[in-house]
């Protein structure tokens, strides 16, 4: 019962911005459901196949911002075949036909076509923001359409997409009247751009706060751009190569000193280490530094740079920084919250750039650490236990030992105890990725202690179905579970089928799940789509129930089987 008029309630709801909270609000009563749905502007859909665009449009007529995710996470590692799905086209078409005044579209792991982009650019007069992360299927022509047609474009953010580059005139497609840009990120584009157009665009964008360039933008252009945009907060440098004694370089040094708003720095796709000293003046203010795409910087270059970054909160770096370098990070960056260490040479076993020592140093020096992605060559239980003692605030803990089944090299034991310590002491842990030699024991610990865990990634671990069962039974908040190459089979899969309705998705590949079990599951749970990805030509083999399934992806959905599945996907 409402004691307030709807408008008042709606006004109260305006302060509730988190998706989870708004979802909860809508469940209170019919009246609140109605008020909430008319006032909702931002919607997040974690799996584009869980709902149809038509139903979305019907429920939220005031929709302004839509976030969609397509392919499962393991698609990032080539485990999902090419045209599996995740097409944004039907969404854009449906939205275009409707009266939705879309202003923002954020896509992750989706297939986007040039036609979709063009339709998008022409259908929504107030369209302001396009963010594409790990998407594919489009070319710079699509980007050009966005540039040309979205008159009030504020944000064009292309992150790590596979874009076919038609040697962009796309940048020149921004009309002279476009002065609204706040954020422009084209670092993932590989091709040439018109540098003069870029300079003019930046010059007429007084609100530009974030600019990330691709590798073809040379140093002298960078210098010109910074001169015109000293207000930048986030800068991604493309090419950073010059002779330190050149005039251009001295001008750049001078200009950089004026850019005291820069808080975030990335790029350096091409870099001459001797030029890095020009950056030092802005290092003091940096809160985010991403050098994970800069293999041209060696360990000592990185260390020297990091020593200036006392306020750093997030650091993404290559493992050539080494354990010693991480020690420098630990003693300098006391505000560090997030660390990602990527391998510079993932397949070279010999070059042990970072080990457990680096991680221990970081954990000791950076008490605010809450998010970790760490690729290393080895890890010990002792180190993990120490890390668990030092850091109890982890929200994300992702450890990748490059040899996927490597035991503790000191004790030759599995890493169960180490990870056990991590989950025991980090009660807020939401995301966990395991690696190394692991038995069912680690899953027992996870089930017992990781009560807030939402996403778990497992590879080459466990001994038996018990492992998976510990997790399914213990982790009440689990939303995404992805498993590859583990000895989990039908017993684990079918034990608690209702569990999957509380989760977004489950991925199992190269496990011991049979076809028959998947069929059983699909039959008993109509609210789940159970997809078998079968890439063998011999499709008829898939009918034998006893056969093992290579890849299974199941997800809850309100709309049944999807219509756009490729031939090799079997929907049960």
């Amino acid at each position: 019962m409402n004691y307030f008029p709807d408008e008042v309630v709606e006004h109260v709801f305006d302060f509730i911005t988190s998706h989870k909270d708004r979802n909860s609000v809508s469940l209170v009563c019919k009246s609140w459901y109605k008020i909430e749905r008319y006032s909702r502007q931002r919607v997040f859909i974690g799996n584009c196949y869980s709902i149809t665009p038509q139903r979305l449009i019907a429920r939220f007529p005031g929709l302004k911002s839509l976030t969609l995710k397509g392919k499962p996470h393991f698609a990032d590692f080539n485990l999902v075949p090419h045209d599996w799905g995740g097409f944004v086209d039907p969404w854009i078409k449906a939205l275009a036909k409707s009266r939705i005044g879309l202003e923002e579209l954020r896509l992750k792991r989706m297939v986007v076509s040039d036609d979709s982009l063009e339709l998008l650019s022409k259908s929504f007069p107030n369209f302001k923001s396009l963010v594409l992360v790990s998407c594919e299927g489009f070319t710079t022509d699509g980007v050009a359409a966005i540039a040309a047609n979205c008159r009030f474009l504020r944000e064009l953010d292309l992150q790590e997409n596979e874009v076919e580059d038609h040697r962009g005139h796309w940048l020149s497609c921004f009309p002279e009247s476009c002065t609204s840009l706040v954020s422009l990120n084209f670092a993932c584009l590989k091709g040439e751009i018109n540098l003069a157009s870029l300079e003019r665009l930046v010059a007429r964008s007084p609100n530009l706060k974030s600019l990330r360039l691709n590798r073809v933008v040379p140093l002298n252009t960078l210098q010109n751009l910074l001169m015109r945009a000293p207000q930048l907060v986030d800068l991604g440098i493309g090419s950073y190569v010059d002779d330190p004694s050149s005039e251009v370089f001295s001008k750049l040094k001078a200009v950089i000193q004026l850019c005291n708003s820069i808080r975030s720095l990335s790029g350096f796709l091409e870099v001459a280490p001797c030029c890095m000293s020009a950056i030092y003046p802005i290092c003091e203010n940096l809160t985010f530094l991403n050098l994970s795409y800069a293999p041209g910087l060696q360990g000592n270059d990185l260390t020297k740079l990091v020593q200036h970054c006392r306020k750093l909160q997030r650091l993404w770096i290559l493992d050539c920084i080494g354990d010693k370098g991480l020690g420098v990070v630990a003693s300098t960056c006391k505000e560090l919250q997030e660390l990602r260490v990527f391998p510079s040479d993932p397949f070279d076993a010999g070059n042990a750039a970072v080990t457990e020592e680096g991680l221990v140093l970081i954990s000791a020096g950076c008490p605010k650490l809450n998010s970790l992605l760490y690729f290393c060559h080895q890890m010990t239980n002792a180190a993990l236990i120490t890390v668990a003692k030092n850091c109890t605030n982890f929200i994300r803990f992702r450890l990748c030992i490059l040899d996927p089944v490597k035991a503790d090299p000191v004790t030759n034991q599995p890493l169960d105890e180490g990870f056990g310590a991590i989950v025991r002491s980090n009660k807020s842990l939401k995301r966990l990725s395991l690696s190394g030699l692991l038995t069912d024991q680690v899953f027992l610990y996870i089930g017992m202690y990781a009560k807030k865990l939402e996403m778990l990634s497992i590879a080459f671990a466990g001994d038996s179905n018990k492992g998976m069962l510990y997790v399914l039974n213990g982790c009440k908040k689990l939303r995404k579970l992805e498993i590859r190459d583990c000895p989990f089979g039908d017993v684990a899969l079918l034990e608690d089928m209702g569990k999957y309705e509380t989760m977004r998705s489950l991925w199992m590949s190269s496990c011991e799940v049979t076809h028959g079990a998947c069929k059983t599951l699909a039959k008993k749970m109509p609210s789940l789509n159970v997809e078998i990805i079968n890439e063998s030509e011999q499709l008829e083999f898939s009918l034998d129930d006893r056969l093992l399934v290579d890849k299974m992806y199941l997800y809850r959905t309100l709309v049944g089987h999807r219509k756009d599945k490729p031939e090799y996907v079997l929907l049960l």
Binding site: N161, P295, S510, I532, Q538
Partner: protein, 354 residues
Amino acid sequence: MSPPLLGVEEEVQSSVSSPSVKCISENGMGLKERNYLGLSDCSSVDSSGVSSNLNLKATELRLGLPGSQSPERETELCLLNLGKLDEKPLFPLLPSKDGICSSSQKNVVTGNKRGFSDTMDGFSEVKGYVYTEKSWMFHEAGSDSESPQSVGHGKYPGNSGVNVILSTRSPGVQASVKQDEPANVLQEQPRATNGTSLKQTVISNNNTGAPAAKAQVVGWPPIRPFRTKTLAASSKNNDEVDGKPGPGALFVKVSMDGAPYLRKVDLRTYSTYQELSSALEKMFSCFTLGQCGSHGTAGKETLSESRLKDLLHGSEYVVTYKDKDGDWMLVGDVPWESQDVYRNVQEVENHEEL
């Protein structure tokens, strides 16, 4: 492509004995083939291999020819009965897992192949980041194209050399292919067929000289292909900045049985498999001319042309050198700055070939 290269490969397999091919020729040395995709013909893999020292062995990359179970097998492509395929757990390191291994003689039919189509769409597999920029894999525009399919490739960092198998397969053998590529990410796409049965075995020396071979599994380590590709491109460019060919240049040793010397190709200069195989054909054409029926009548004329235009430039002699594996290499394939050439230049009489 042309059948003779098949013949080349077979002979290479059996006759090359340099350390760099130890992985192929070391059949009798107790190395076990491991198929990390979990598919292997159990009969060919000694289950006693699940032993305590498997920690290293299990991670060694062993590449067999498509259709073969282990290196000593015939290199004929064989159409395996899918019913014989068994799935083994990956990395069966502990003896206790043996029980799981041998008792689970399952028929794996579905899912024999894994995401090889990933190479097709240019995303390129994670493992191949060194090669990515000018990938010598096929780029397939659409998933169902009929271009020849890609290949397994593997990389053994280290002076043990790298065994790289380039192959395309006809549809019929695709089912069998997958299981023969242990620890190798690249799988071909069964749907996109029509590849010609061309196989070459390429033996290479890794420039870095890092230690033992490392297994490579589909999708491991979990790094986005975009990242590995970008890093590779950046490495290459940075090295060019420094003015020398860096680790980005991937020189691969190519040998042909019966030839007096080996060649080296920079895989990064080829963007398609087609280009590479034509280049290799041209390289070795001077040696293959005259073999009966190997090229077929149609090819003869082009071959004589290329023979005339051969590197030898009419000279009776070519300059070769002996590299660290003891193979005779033709001078000129690798940039001068390379250590290889500095130390080992020798002249060899080449009149036999002409």
